[in-house]
Symmetry: C3
Subunit: 304 residues, 3 copies
């Protein structure tokens, strides 16, 4: 899991994903020679900090978001959320401003809930802070901040090793209202005619989805994908014999929101490992669910 | 009202409209020979489960959503809402899963408000349930679940009998965040240059809009249409002598949300009969308002 | 500030901006002969009540919204909000209906908060009411309703006097959910390849942004612009020596929402003078911040 560890350590709060974009592009350039098939790599100004990899004659696109949750320094010692991080006094936050590296702790006003930081100096207005990465691996689990969604990115990069036909799209801003999938989807649909999508992202351990029982195929969250498409996926998954679970939620969202509202007839399905301690520095995933996720994506990209 | 009765009985919860799509397509194929003009019928993979009918040289498009509210089976015996159904313990819900037909009753936890079902067995995770259809007709009213929006669909189909120039679009997902009107609108605007829309949907009886006084022309809901377009419609309606009412709301929405936010300059107006007992199994509409609605659409499609 | 005064007096509630569109078009036709460069003026049915001015070989587009907040007359003597006006009993509201001019006062039910009006007669259903304009100017300040966003429009029109390369877009519906920037942005991107935007709008005096210290460059509000673009703007602003402040908010929005969600890779940044008494009849702006705003736009349109 060295790759996953590295991915978790690169800061990429929504709106400032550039460092992770560079890391992923470097990784692609270094490793694609070992992939079974070479993709077209599309990463230029038309796509801001996103990356598209196009393999063969694609029928399906996989979306994995690069960005993470975090905090923006406001005035005084106030912080404003980027996305929806859990907040607990004492969380270690890191970043960089004009005076150098920042390594501070989160404060939460007991009465107002107002967020702030404790540090020996003021931090520049507008500086982004992210969770300090304490990556922990056991025989059966990985634990770190930002498994959501570095694990989805990892899954997409590992999928590339064997992928013959398909598109892998690395997106931005997913944690904070979206803003890149609309144009990625437009380009993909208009250029390749592709309108089937899988969302390579991480979901929640709940009373109905348990760690270790396989990755989750989401039947719905706050949005509802087209039943006919999800049924095809369920049939392929069942026939594959790969462990998986069915998820049904009434809330939550993903890059699929922009697909659902796109001016093109996208079918989509969220498929991802479940994690515990969501949106904290201690996100925890069972390795069996990671294996199941990658195995299922490999089958689905062949058969869909 | 045999057609309306049939429409109300076909289940089509948002995301799984396929059965109603087939019903409407069959109806069109069976009846178009008797229509004054034959439309082009567009219903293929580019439009998922939507249907477009294009008559003559269109200037205006009518949008009628096929989907309805309902419930999704979650874990244990929990239910999650599809759209915004009213919930009252004892409502009869129907559906189908791998073990066969489902006919159960809604439960509402008195303390938590959590939704569930009472049935002699567990229902498959992800199964959609809809209200049981008890269609009631009197000399002056119709009452059933899903008059919203089977009455809007009925109005659009009846409009087809005499329509010479215009587009009728049957859309999906309206009750649950939308997801089809964006691409329908793009296709219509780019292919036909049409950017005038009427929303054939059902609204609410309120202190300002009364049953029996004619269908409502909505001057606004949560969104505000362009005044100049609504004023043209009001002038045509006034000159027609057809009974109608003016509605002003601060909340609520329709397929028009996607038109308002489309990357094309759509003018739109919601025009529909008001109903009582909104989003329950007992939606009630006055027949005079249905007549007024169809008459007004006939005039508007000619004169706009 | 005669131009600003005139702009503030023309009613243009969201959805009914036509009067202000006419005013601005007249102003452009009367004054463009004195501008350093003549723009292409685009204002036809494809753009509803919006206006586009295209100067030279544009690289950057400035968006200034024409519309304002206000109220719609509902039933009885109820009012419904257009956008998010502050409400205080006694505010003077004006409008026009079939019986003539309206000049009434806002009422607020002490218990329910329900909004209404006091007037000697009933006002037609659907009539829009706006704040009465009491324009006040001192040596150092201007005060009026609707400085948000007539000052942004003023800034854009003054910018035209010297602009050589760039686009100025006057938009609609910004105060009430948007609805025009999506198609303006699509046209601009597809026709001119432009995907850099500045939002010429008014922001808030807060504990971190003070009147008189220069216009605000917003690093974020409810949405987060791409860091790389904002950093370029900050560098140009710093090098220019023009007074400015950095703003960081967790809420609020602008025309940028539609750019962020567009199916094109727009970079955007909100730059505007701060005002006190936001969304009241008494919006107050320091003249130094107005000067700073115009000076900064002039530099940025040259250097971005």
């Amino acid at each position: 899991m060295q790759l996953l560890h590295s991915l978790c350590r690169v800061p990429a709060p929504a709106g400032n994903e550039a460092a992770l974009t560079r890391f992923v592009l470097n990784y692609i350039h270094q490793h694609q020679a070992n992939w079974a098939h070479r993709p077209e790599i599309i990463a230029d100004d038309r796509f801001q900090d996103c990356i598209l990899l196009v393999f063969g004659q694609p029928r399906t696109a996989v979306f994995a978001h690069l960005d993470s949750i975090g905090f923006t320094v406001r005035y005084g010692r106030q912080l404003v959320r980027i996305g929806g991080p859990q907040v607990e006094a004492g969380y270690r936050l890191v970043g960089q401003d004009s005076q150098g590296l920042v390594d501070c702790t989160l404060t939460v006003d007991a009465e107002t809930g107002e967020l702030g930081y404790a540090f020996h100096r003021d931090i520049d207005r507008g500086t982004e802070l992210t969770f300090y990465c304490d990556f922990r691996e056991t025989a059966t689990t990985v634990q770190s901040c930002y498994l959501d969604n570095r694990l989805g990115v990892w899954n997409a990069l590992r999928l590339c090793e064997t992928l013959e036909h398909g598109i892998v799209a690395f997106s931005c801003w997913e944690e904070h209202g979206g803003g890149s999938v609309a144009y990625l989807a437009k380009f993909i649909y208009e250029t390749y005619g592709v309108r089937q999508a899988l969302i390579s992202d991480i979901t929640w351990v709940t009373e109905g989805v348990h760690a270790g029982l396989g990755c989750a195929i989401s039947l719905r969250d706050s949005l509802i994908p087209r039943r006919a498409y999800v049924d095809r996926i369920r049939a392929i998954a069942a026939a594959s014999g790969i462990a998986h679970q069915l998820e049904v939620e009434g809330s939550g969202g993903s890059d699929a929101k922009e697909l659902q509202h796109a001016a093109a007839p996208w079918d989509w399905c969220f498929i991802g490992a479940p994690e515990d301690h969501v949106h904290t520095p201690d996100e925890l995933v069972d390795k069996r669910d990671i294996e199941s996720m990658l195995a299922l994506y490999r089958v689905l990209l062949e058969e869909l």
